[in-house]
Amino acid sequence: MRWRRLKAIAVKEVLQTWRDPRSLMIALLLPFTQMFLFGYGVNLDLQHLPICTFDREGSQLSQDLLKHFQASLYFAIVHNVKAYPEIVAAIDRADCRVGIVIPPDFSERLNDSGTASVQAILDGTDDNTANIAFGYAASVVSGFSNDVQLSWLDRQGRTLQQVQPMTVQSRVWFNEDLVSRNFIIPGLVAVIMALVGAQLTSLTVAREWERGTMELLVSTPVQSSEVMFGKLIPYLMLGWLDAAFCLVIAVLWFEVPFRGTLLTLFLTTTLFLAVVLSIGYLLSVVIRSQVGASQIALVVTLLPTTLLSGYVFPIDQMPSFIQDVTYVIYSRYYVTIIKAIFLKGAGISELLMPILFLVVYAVAVVALAARAFRKRLD
């Protein structure tokens, strides 16, 4: 490999990218828009779920129960309705996720038979929230139930000297405010890198074939490894720029905590970029049409990265056969790495396993790409 030829190609690539508005748009605008779109558009925090209440009794007791719901940080009462159809309509319209209906004989049944029940109507179309909401509701009602029990005993003159039998003291590590943004945004950096990286390089070889300049290039003494590295190096630098960009937005604008070291982030990001850029390059070599290459690049990066990398949907919750599939998804390792760097302050030593996987991936793809590039037309 000769430095002179590699440099010539790298310089040319930089000049061309600089003068291509489309590439610049992908490289600069895309990260920006993605960060803000996702940063603001995505909020998975299941707190303050809107609920509607229908108190058919209107007694002191029922109001007490509703106060418990009011006080819970998981719920936010948005409507107190006066008729059953109203609550159904509210759920249909998605004004609220849960409807709490207190029956008209609530206190009576509690005093007579010792048990009373409260209805929770859930919007089953969003089962995800429904299950969770039901769990929350159950805790709130349990707490209320205990209160009722104790105060009843109290009125009988049998104080049990309990306020609450048990309390849960919880501490959250690494994302203390349990803000979903804090774990989505680092993962988002991975998505952006994957997307941008692959898109940029997927065009580069195909474009030259389409324009005819590759034919000439291939007739020169230039070697395929020189072409590859000469083309990838500028995009690597662009990738670094993007990563820095995203880092700044994440930390300064979205105030995501960053507890790791810049060095670790730099090294691991470089590794990931190597994988992603090589994948785009490989596609560009194999598919000699720009449109085709970039479309396939999109499919190969966006889908697996958003769905199967653990970026939003936790891998350990997936069915086991899909979990096995994720071992092949390169972005899975980087998502783990980047979240750990941001939130846990992890260093290279803690991240050896995912780093190793990425290294293997990088070597494999680079080798494939180098082999696939043929200095022949047939």
Binding site: R4, L15, G212, T220
Partner: protein, 321 residues
């Protein structure tokens, strides 16, 4: 063929065959090109000229036969060949979003022109192309003729002993074409071996030797003089008249006439013996009430030769099929 036999010739093609699937693009072509020679490749579109050139550059692998460039077996060692050649493809292959200077510097780097020499070589290329003062213009904004000369300049930066030019004059206007051929001659005079393909038949006159390719086969090869005088297989007469159609039909039946075809608004008549036909034809035509306004012997042009040869070749093929 051994290496020593091919030492003189810069390019040696021996029974080259190239197939794409079942389509035979190049059909047992053999020729040689000597040092400092300008060899022209002529033929209609799709004849196989580009395929042959690409094979010589190592861009395509021969299906059969062997090819040597600068004494190197191309199929075995294409990379080594590339150090010795310059190539200009049909699309010129310049980077349109780069400037004149940037393109030159790029190719200078690719060919590893010694840094000390590069500025001088770049100057040479710019002067040759006539692009002095426009070093910073983007190639996309240059007209065809300028791009063509710049592409040539890029191809010779590293002083290759052999140049392959694939239809460099396509789509370029006539004055630029002439200027380009002047440049080729200058290079050849310096000892560069040039293999040029073109579909402009008249450009064959500029070459030391020309090869006529049709449908993958080499149907004639020789210097323009040789081709004009021996390949035609007859002597040529020019005939001008009013009624082209009927005259043409009549000539077809005339004795001593091998072939006749329309050239512009006259007829070129290929005859066995020019003197005899000059005597006999007017009477023959008179009998059919056709009076030519002019009938004289002319020197065949290469175009005549090629048109005739290709027609003959087509006939031969359809008879063989």
């Amino acid at each position: 063929m051994s290496g020593s036999e091919t030492a003189d010739a810069q390019i040696v093609v021996d029974n080259l065959v190239k197939r794409f699937g079942s389509f035979v693009a190049v059909d047992h072509v053999s020729f040689r090109v000597g040092h400092g020679e300008i060899m022209g490749f002529l033929g209609p579109n799709g004849a196989g000229k580009s395929t042959i050139i690409r094979t010589l550059c190592g861009l395509l692998r021969p299906s059969a036969g062997r090819v040597w460039v600068a004494g190197i077996d191309v199929a075995r060692d294409p990379e080594r060949v590339r150090e010795h050649i310059g190539y200009m493809s049909q699309k010129f292959s310049l980077y349109r979003d780069l400037s004149v200077e940037e393109n030159l510097r790029f190719f200078g780097g690719i060919y590893r022109v010694p840094r000390a020499e590069l500025p001088e070589r770049m100057r040479f290329a710019i002067d040759m192309a006539g692009l002095g003062g426009r070093e910073k213009t983007l190639v996309a904004t240059l007209a065809g003729g300028w791009q063509q000369r710049l592409a040539l300049g890029c191809a010779v930066l590293h002083r290759p002993p052999i140049l392959f030019l694939d239809e460099p004059t396509s789509g370029v206007e006539p004055t630029s074409r002439r200027r380009f051929w002047d440049l080729i001659h200058t290079l050849a005079a310096d000892g560069v071996t040039v293999l040029v393909s073109t579909h402009y038949m008249d450009e064959a006159e500029y070459c030391d030797r020309a090869a006529l390719i049709n449908q993958g086969r080499l149907i004639a090869i020789g210097s323009p003089e040789e081709l004009k005088h021996t390949a035609l297989g007859g002597e040529l007469l020019l005939l001008e008249c009013e009624a082209l159609g009927p005259t043409l039909a009549a000539l077809r039946q005339a004795p001593g006439v091998i072939d006749s075809s329309v050239f512009g608004n006259a007829i070129h008549v290929l005859v066995d013996n020019a003197e005899r036909s000059l005597r006999e034809l007017p009477a023959y035509l008179e009998q059919r009430s056709l009076r030519p306004s002019r009938l004289q012997r002319i020197d065949p042009s290469l175009e005549d030769v090629f048109v005739r040869l290709i027609a003959a070749d087509m006939v031969k093929r359809s008879e063989a099929a």
